[in-house]
């Protein structure tokens, strides 16, 4: 801890933040997990999915973009906040087509894992929007099923900022806003299977699919078969 460090609390736990850190960054370092979907380590913060909503001094903010402030009281895991988060996750399920039993990402899917973590165990009440978007299987090594896209934009930022390419971008507005590719289809872009944007850690769901590697890891041995989403961050605190 240095002189400039900031201290605040999350659910009563004292947290130290370096100057300029967001609430989420400080929480991650301290081993306190704040649920998130559009935020991902190594990528710019977006603040779009709102799953990381916390109350900072009573006010709703996105933990991924809100700077940590000295003396701030942050509420994270309260029944009320987790209910808001569950609503948001349910909205994402209902906005797209998320049929876990037939999805290659099942078990590795952050949306599914978040639903488990937030105890989305009852029948949902929202209507299904049932999009019907064409699959893009044009690329030799990669397929895209945007019916499963949750508009997190992680692929957009990874491709632009990490790969220096800009394969993806948002088009449209409102409920029609979606991720599209920089060309007629994926084959007409400079996308490559070795891109960070195409790696299995960037797409949180089963939208970006790498061909010929599906189901290589059997169900039961997948990422979230090991623990609830967030277990790695929470593991830091338990030591």
């Amino acid at each position: 801890m240095t002189d400039q460090d900031i201290t605040f609390t999350i659910d009563g736990v004292a947290i130290t933040a370096k100057p300029g850190q967001t609430i989420m960054e400080a929480a991650d370092d301290a081993g306190v997990y704040i649920p998130r979907l559009c935020d991902h380590e190594g990528l710019r913060h977006q603040g779009g999915c709102r799953v990381c909503t916390v109350k900072a001094n009573g006010r709703s903010v996105a933990a991924c973009t809100q700077p940590a402030a000295p003396g701030q009281t942050v509420e994270n895991e309260t029944p009320h906040i987790n209910k808001l988060r569950r609503d948001l996750v349910e909205m994402l399920f209902h906005e797209g087509n998320h049929l876990c039993p037939i999805c290659e990402a099942s078990g590795n899917c952050e949306l599914q894992a978040m639903a488990y973590r937030l105890e989305m165990v009852e029948p949902t009440k929202f209507p299904y929007l049932e999009p019907s978007r064409a699959l893009d299987a044009s690329h030799h090594d990669i397929a895209l099923d945007t019916n499963r896209c949750i508009s997190c934009g992680r692929c957009i930022r990874a491709s632009k900022d990490v790969d220096g390419k800009g394969v993806f971008g948002y088009v449209g507005r409102g409920i029609h806003r979606r991720v599209a590719v920089n060309g007629e289809d994926l084959a007409h872009t400079d996308a490559d299977a070795s891109d960070h944007a195409m790696s299995d850690e960037v797409c949180p769901v089963g939208c970006i699919i790498r061909k010929r590697v599906g189901f290589a890891t059997p169900i039961g041995e997948r990422e979230f078969d090991k623990g609830l989403i967030g277990y790695e961050i929470e593991g830091k605190r338990r030591g």
């Binding site: 913060h45 603040g47 779009g48 999915c49 709102r50 799953v51 909503t53 709703s60 996105a62 973009t65 700077p67 209910k83 808001l84 609503d87 948001l88 909205m91 994402l92 209902h94 906005e95 009440k125 929202f126 209507p127 929007l129 064409a134 893009d136 895209l144 945007t146 508009s151 800009g166 993806f168 971008g169 948002y170 088009v171 449209g172 507005r173 409102g174 409920i175 029609h176 806003r177 599209a180 590719v181 920089n182 060309g183 007629e184 289809d185 994926l186 007409h188």
Partner: protein, 625 residues
Amino acid sequence: MATNTPDEQMTGPAVSVPSIPVEEIVSICQTYGNDRHRMLDILRDVQDRFRWISPKVMETVASQTCLSRIEVEGVASFYSFLSQTPKGRVTIRLCDDIIDRFAGLAAIAEAFEEELGIKVGETSPDESFSLEYTPCIGMCDQAPAAMVNDVVVTKLTPDLARQWAQSLKAGKSPEEIVSDRFADLSPHARATAQVDNNIRHAGAVLLGPVPDDAGLKTALGLTPVQIMDMIEASGLRGCGGAGFTTGRKWKFAAAEKAEKHFVLCNADEGEPGTFKDRVLLTERPHLLVEGMTIAARAVGAREGIIYLRGEYVYLRDLIEEVLADRRARGLLGEAILGVEGFDFDLRVQMGAGAYICGEEGALISSCEGLPGEPKTRPPFPVNRGYLGYPTVVNNVETFCHAARILDRGAQWFFDMGEEGSHGTKLFSVSGDCLNPGLYEFPYGLTINELLEMVGGEDAAAVQVGGPSGTMIARDSFHRRLTFDDLATGGAIIVFSGERNVLEIVEYYMSFFVHESCGYCTPCRVGNVFLQKAIGKFRKGLANPEDIDYLKDLSGTIIETSRCGLGMTSPNPILTTLKNFPLVYSAMVKPSKDGIRATFDIQSAIDGARHLAKRRSYIYDEDFSK
């Protein structure tokens, strides 16, 4: 994945279009210095000249501005007035506000459809016409209204619509239909030939007599700090709706050390029912620029932008003329009024059909040539705004007030209105009243007093502040128009007892669904769910528990949305649930059998029936017996 569906890619657009010469696109980009921050201007020019933004155009624009095609497409696909399919030589946009609907929009649409031989949403095969709906164009006091290319037509009747369609078909331009000598008219005369001001009550500050540049002259004798102290002491608060103290906003921006500062005017009043800035832009454009110049002096800005909503394109020439006149008279440009070092100039940024751009972060994004998405806060615009520089964004009315305060003094302004709500306010009144139009009054008026003046005593409901504000019933008409009671950006919409409250609410929700930028989950998705739920109520398919569902979902959207749009979009539902509870309870039916009223077993199994090519043994009667 590409924007065009595979079908469009293969067969090309539905109508044949002349190819767009690459060199013309290059030349448009060069007009704006190939600057990606001027993307909206570039794409607007392309749209105006070639009536669509083709994939090829996007590639050319991208290469000129050093962007990728998908980034250009992101902008082109965001704004309603930009099109990725070819539009007709004349695009008729019928204002689809609830006020226009109540004023006979359906008959107007029918008249246009019959005369033009196309339905709303279509373009004629010979590319002559496109007919479409657009949300509120700021003409609620003279509805039904429409835009015909860059011209506005108001007080439409089916006969007038037919006349317009026939004249257009005969080859007349929209401008020629407005006036045979349109080109000879002054920009002000052109504007008032299209749109009435409808000033019903002039107050002391804005709509009464105003001397030329008296405020600016006072400002020249003051230090920046003295100017800002004066604005703060006057009690002036932002007139766009949020009501932030103007003097403090200016001080925050001035305190920020930076190479440049900017002053932006928000002339993007898109809140349905609001049209006050339209009248100020028409009748007080000099006062507006004077106010911006004073703000520039205060915060140390040398550049400014007036962000003019796309629907007000008919006012562009008027504003440009005012800017040219002021430059010629030494009121804009270098060494304003001979004061060495006092340099300020500004440009007009046209919007292109996006309500969200009235949100200050989204407005800044739009000025930067990006999709109109709000920015992450903090940093706030006063710290890091336009292009990353400290930026003051104020509403048209706010700047006009500021200029008047400099002339007449802080105390003069402070003494009007009441504690916490000082000065006068413009109210845009429309709907079921005898005298719709613009009223300027000190804060503190009650709704009853206002209704009496506008001839709206029969009102059963008043929408204060537009859809993002509050819908109140008769039992609240004693309430007062102040920041602490009924806060409003200025829209007052009067509804008589004959109007269906749920129809109004459903319209407002469809408006928010149309205008959500889509950046954050709750606003993008949640508002669609609210709209669907209200649809259930209107069809009589709602259960009693659906009332709790509405409240619950609204709460989540308000608490988790990223900007003011989502934080207020459930207001039409929440305020009517509170003030008109019987409207909802009359529409719900408890189900007897435990099956939700919305569940229709027959339609649910219909798909399976078709697949199986036979009836259902359980749910279909066997008529053969």
